[in-house]
Amino acid sequence: MTATVTRTVPTRPTAARSGAVWMTLRLAGTELRLLGREKSVIVGLVGFPLITVLVLAGVFGQGPDPDFGGVSPDDHYLVGYIGVVLASLGVATIPVHLATHRELGVLRRYRAAGLSARVVVAAQVLLGAVLGTVAASVVLLVGSLVYGLPAPEDPLGALGWYLAGLACFVALGVALGSLARTGRSAAALGNLVFIPMFLLGGGGPPRAVMSSTMQTISDVLPLSHVVGGLRQAWLGTTDDPHVLWWPVVVAAVAVALAVRSGRRRPS
């Protein structure tokens, strides 16, 4: 059915200003600048994995070890910690950031300005990608300078696993942040997920020394697969599980959950 009406003002903003991509970039850029002022985030993101990897590499030594798939423990942990920093970012940092935004009413302000749930989620994903890349780069840099980490045997494979891990954990973080009501609950939820995943998913003892129950749990953790894939592509070890589709599926489910949650609970 049609009716004659009158139009008095331009109906659409210019594409450059109203496009979802533009808004996503603007929001991610702004949030990145603000996070750069949060010293606790930077210290937690880079400091935690660096200190842990330095301690573990120092404890287990630098010679080849059969419990570590025949490679040196420092290489084993350094490569694995690329995955760990992504998990730390995704599960422990992003949810708190996002839930705090909701708790304070920041998301509400964004929504009132016409930023859709999709744009907010995409900006968080982009933000996570940048932060994850920075944190992983720091680990690699320190690994190369301090422990002489070798170049990856399969650089493209390593890149693929890195991207899969990034997608998986950033999406998981956004989903957890969308579900948590407050920053405090997000922190509790994040720790609840991160600590067992860290210990059994590649950040703790090598798989060879785990009990069978621990190995079974480890097999379903996406971090185990990301870390396992990185080690396989970088060092050629195949002890850890490394099924590429698993972190990708987790990422897809997490994004769907985040968008759904954002639509259902906009403020």
Partner: protein, 329 residues
Amino acid sequence: MCPAPVRAHDAAMATKTITDRDDAPDTTAGPVVSVRGLEKRYGGTTVLDGVSFAVEEGELFGLLGTNGAGKTTTVEILQGLRRSDGGRVRVLGLDPATAGDRLRRRIGAQLQDAALPERMRVGEALRFFASLHPAPRPLDELAGEWQLEKLWRRPFSALSGGERQRLFVALALVGRPRLVFLDELTQNLDPVGRRRTWDVVRRVRDGGTTVVLVTHDVEEAERLCDRIVVLDRGRVVAEGTPTSIVRALGGTATVTFTDGDLDVRSLRGLPGVDRVDRHGAVVEVTGTGPVLAHVGAHLVAVDRPADDLAVRLPSLEDRFVALTQEVPA
């Protein structure tokens, strides 16, 4: 400064015909906001019960009610920030429930419970939200209007309540919206800031922007609004101009003057007088209609003109209190 007001009939002089679809935006074929039979329940509690009203282009429209009357829920539904449980809502020709994001990019909103990231500076906030609009207001002009120039580099966490409020209003106006929602606008402002804000709101309306003002402050509604809807427990209990709502009260006027010697019995027979009381030298005459004129004329006629003759008419506040204290049937 602000552009000249754009009224519906002026705008219609230079328009073109288009085909209307359900989601066709920015049309002037009807009210800017149209609400019919709006319902909202939280659990078993009904917070909006058949609310209906319309806001016309260029109006400064007030949604007045006590805390918990359903004002904020109503405007959140109008902005698509909350779903209704029934009724029909159109804002700028759009259904907020299905076109919320598009709608929100075309309106301005100052929300009651909202914040910015704590480390975001005032200037950054203005720049960021301006960048989301195709033709934003010049930021220096906006900052000057809302006294934000000196706060330009101050983070949000360091702003006082009043400063935050001014920033939010500036953000609501940065995109030159055709319609702006202001929710409890002068909350946290001191009396000077409050009056300054009222002046700017009038200027916003005079610039052609339709304003929906949500308030529990009767004085604010009375001073600012062209038209008011009074909400009470989720229902519209009065609608009209502040004057018409007061008139509908049918309330009495009270005339007072000082005369210790006047025989007040002579006043009881005057037209419209219901009651005469004396409190010492002060005489209080209560009645309806032009009772002041009759009392004044009588005092002149008996050669006892009072130099402190005063009248107190029923106010919007009286009407508001009466309306919101009535027990619904």
